[in-house]
């Protein structure tokens, strides 16, 4: 998707078209999640701090972002993807790999599929996307970047939309590119490569693997060398085979109140469980992540006997782990993730009976919750993610938060970033 969050905002409010738009947290800790091409002309880009963006482009329209809407749009786009192939690997809300090798017979060529997907996303969703077509994930990713609109010398070039790199022509495509284009080349690696005279991917490919290993270490050197020659044999992994599903959230202010943290836990568990169910799975391992006010992060995991897919089931498992952590110094970020999946419709394991007729205190019965969870999913499908939520997430009406809100930092109460 091209400037995804901004595109969704423009779709929903066409009056914003042509203006510099910045989507992201506008609080003191906010970061830019997306910037329109008009804002990029001023040097604003994603992951920059919002306060810096505001200095660079004081006239930009700052929008807090609507993660729930983006997720919904993303899900619709993924649905289009899955009508071509079940092998869809989402790497971000607005980015995915599709392995269409099984669909070629029906559609003729990958390029036909690419054109059709672009047309359908534009028509059915109302946003644009760019597609890279290649024989492996790495080259396809670079090609998709090359296909995107971009700012050149202060004006916006709409881009080609689809860039195809035919098998066997990867080297020709890659070698003129700057080394920064390669995955895994951050500022530090870039500086090291620059020192040994490597400017382009072609330079890197020609320098020889021994020199790279000396300069960058064994793993990194060999990896980049392979990429420079267009070698990448990783398969497209659909979400069903995903290793984990999670949400995390940065708070407006550090939270030291365990009761409030528990409310956030309930909400995050609900959100993650919803995605685990949407994935047609149950999870056996659940992980809690906490980042303290001093940025120190810890994670705590629990593996349960019987796989779970309900929010209360997740909360029950993670609640004690949260209670065992001393939070008095303040928590900056809370995250929940689920892993070790099994198919939701797979055979049920043995069920341990209970000695007491009534469920003992605080005991979550997954079987009972399976029905309730299904009803919640149905309500959300029809009326939106906000239509139903757990009581713990509803302490007061003003405080209604969206599921997994603020992934890039919350808004400041008065919209001031300075």
């Amino acid at each position: 998707m091209d400037m995804f969050y901004v595109a969704v905002e423009l779709r929903d409010d066409p009056g914003l078209r042509g203006l510099p738009i910045v989507v992201g947290g506008d609080g003191p800790r906010g970061v830019v999640a997306a910037a329109s091409y008009e804002a990029r002309k001023f040097g604003v880009f994603s992951a920059m701090s919002s306060s810096r963006a505001r200095r660079l482009c004081p006239n930009a329209v700052f929008l807090p972002g609507r993660p729930a809407v983006y997720r919904e749009v993303s899900a619709k786009v993924h649905k289009i993807f899955r009508s071509y192939t079940p092998l869809v690997e989402g790497i971000a809300l607005d980015e995915a790999f599709l392995d269409v090798s099984g669909a070629l017979r029906g559609y003729g060529s990958a390029v036909t599929i690419a054109d059709e997907i672009r047309a359908r996303v534009a028509q059915e969703i109302g946003i644009t996307c760019s597609v890279g077509v290649a024989a492996n994930k790495f080259v396809a990713k670079i090609a998709s970047k090359a296909a995107k609109p971009r700012v050149i010398a202060g004006s916006i070039d709409p881009g080609e939309g689809v860039v195809v790199v035919e098998p066997g022509r990867e080297v020709e495509f890659l070698h003129p590119l700057p080394v920064r284009a390669l995955w895994g080349v951050g500022p530090a690696t870039h500086a090291r490569l620059d020192r040994i005279g490597v400017k382009t991917v072609g330079d890197l490919a020609m320098i020889g693997v021994e020199h790279l290993v000396t300069a960058l270490g064994d793993a990194s050197g060999r990896h980049l060398f392979d990429l420079a020659w267009g070698h990448d044999d990783r398969a497209v992994e659909s979400e069903r085979e995903a290793k984990s599903i999670g949400h995390e959230e940065t708070f407006t202010e550090d939270v030291a109140d365990i009761v409030e943290l528990r409310r956030h836990l309930v909400r995050l568990c609900d959100a993650v469980a919803t995605r685990v169910r949407a994935n047609g799975t149950r999870a056996r391992t659940l992980t809690l992540k906490i980042k303290f006010s001093n940025f120190r992060s810890i994670t705590r995991s629990i593996t349960v006997d019987t796989a779970r897919s309900s929010g209360p089931g997740f909360t029950e498992a993670l609640g004690p782990l949260l209670s065992a952590i001393d939070v008095h110094q303040g928590v900056r970020l809370l995250g929940v993730s689920a892993a070790q999946f099994e198919a939701a419709d797979g055979p049920a394991g043995p069920v341990q009976g209970s000695l007491f007729d009534e469920p003992a205190e605080g005991r979550v019965d997954e079987a009972t919750w399976a029905n309730a969870s299904g009803v919640m999913d149905e309500i959300r499908r029809k009326f939106g993610a906000d239509a139903i939520r757990t009581l713990a997430a509803l302490r007061d009406v003003e405080d209604l938060g969206e599921i997994g809100e603020n992934p890039w930092g919350p808004s400041s109460p008065n919209g001031d970033t300075r």
Binding site: I325, V327, P350, G353, L355, E361, R363
Partner: protein, 364 residues
């Protein structure tokens, strides 16, 4: 503060203290410490995690009275690393020096004023035989829950039953009840004690002959030879376990405890992740199976004396093994009703058994 001690006795006391001291992430540093206080020729060690407190005394060669607070884990690691023989500990304002032979550690200390005030239970102590009480704990503590969402079940109920001591624990899947008829206690006694503390008490009791228990409204203290372990009492409502004790069991098998435990150990190789083991009981004895028919399978025949109708019943292998292991006699009796209702495991020999382990089957 300055004193001399033999490595052995200091290491033993510090081992205990470092298990009690808080290991909680982000907890107050003082709670991860052991407080050392020298008065004359006696060292007083204290550590606490605010729920549970250990107070121990040790005869030492005292050179200078005083107090020091230091990470219990760090000091324990240091003392354990040193060779056998005399160790000297000397505190200055902000550090502690630990010397042995030609080795010397100097490590920072915490402010001793940050250490919480700890007091043992105020109740009148009553004495119990250490061996019997320790054995009763061994049999019961295992059935307590580790689930922090079900706080009441993480406790062990210490109560008076017909004039003597009864210990009860359940995690709702199994229930262990032990009557210790030799320990007389008021029928009105009823306290719920965190099982974590009782596991530590069990360690303290090994090798001791006598222990004293004092109870007040908030806490209980176990005093074993001058080492005092105090824990807060849980106030949560305990489930009504008594109506589970009145079942009649038409089927019973008597079989050898050790042979069954050995077979279970083998079965658990295939009964992974708390999976089930199946017991088929007939007039021919006992057949133990585990695994899945289409995939892998374990099977072992055991001798047994059976009365009742043929039955096959499945249990969580860990829970079953824990119940068999708790039985002190050569033979165990497993009594059942049907594959869906609780089974009971008792010792054989005396019909008036003081211990029972009630276990809910798995439905497969």
């Amino acid at each position: 503060m300055k004193f001399r001690s033999e490595r052995e006795q200091l290491a033993e006391a510090l081992g205990l203290a470092s298990r009690i001291a808080s290991g909680r992430v982000g907890a107050l540093p003082a709670l991860s410490g052991v407080r050392l206080q020298v008065k004359g020729d006696v060292l007083h060690l204290t550590s606490t995690d605010n729920d549970m407190t250990l107070q121990a005394t040790l005869p030492v060669g005292g050179d200078r009275d005083g107090v020091s607070l230091i990470s219990a884990k760090l000091l324990n690691d240091i003392v354990r690393s040193l060779p056998e023989g005399k160790i000297t500990l000397e505190a200055t304002a902000e550090s502690l020096a630990v010397k042995s032979g030609r080795s010397q550690f100097t490590v920072p200390t915490y402010n001793a004023l940050d250490f919480p005030n700890v007091t043992p239970s105020a109740g009148a102590p009553f004495s119990v035989p250490a061996g019997e009480f320790g054995e009763a704990l061994r049999q019961v503590v295992r059935a307590a829950s580790g689930d922090q969402m079900r706080i009441a079940l993480t406790g062990v109920l210490l109560t008076g039953e017909e004039g003597s001591l009864r210990l009860v624990a359940t995690d709702s899947y199994r229930l262990a009840v032990r009557d210790v008829t030799s320990i007389v206690i008021a029928a009105s006694t009823k306290v719920l004690i965190p099982s974590r503390a009782l596991s530590e008490v069990q360690r303290l009791l090994s090798g001791a002959t006598e222990a004293a228990i004092s109870l007040d409204d908030n806490s209980v203290t176990f005093d074993v030879g001058g080492t005092k372990l105090t824990t807060r009492i849980l106030t949560n409502e305990y489930p009504n376990y008594k109506n589970l004790l009145s079942g009649t069991y038409p089927n019973a098998i008597t079989t050898g405890r050790d042979a069954l435990l050995d077979a279970l150990r083998r079965a658990r190789i295939l009964a992974k992740d708390q999976g089930p083991v199946r017991l088929a009981m007939t007039g021919n004895g006992l057949k133990l199976t585990a695994g899945t028919k289409d995939n892998d399978e374990f099977e072992e025949d055991l001798d047994g004396v059976y009365s009742g109708t043929d039955i096959t019943i499945a249990f969580n292998s860990d829970y079953l093994a824990a119940g068999i292991d708790a039985i002190p006699t050569d033979d165990v009796i497993i009594k059942t009703i049907d594959p869906a209702r609780p089974a009971v495991i008792t010792a054989s020999g005396d019909t008036d058994s003081e211990y029972l382990y009630l276990l809910m089957p798995q439905r497969i």
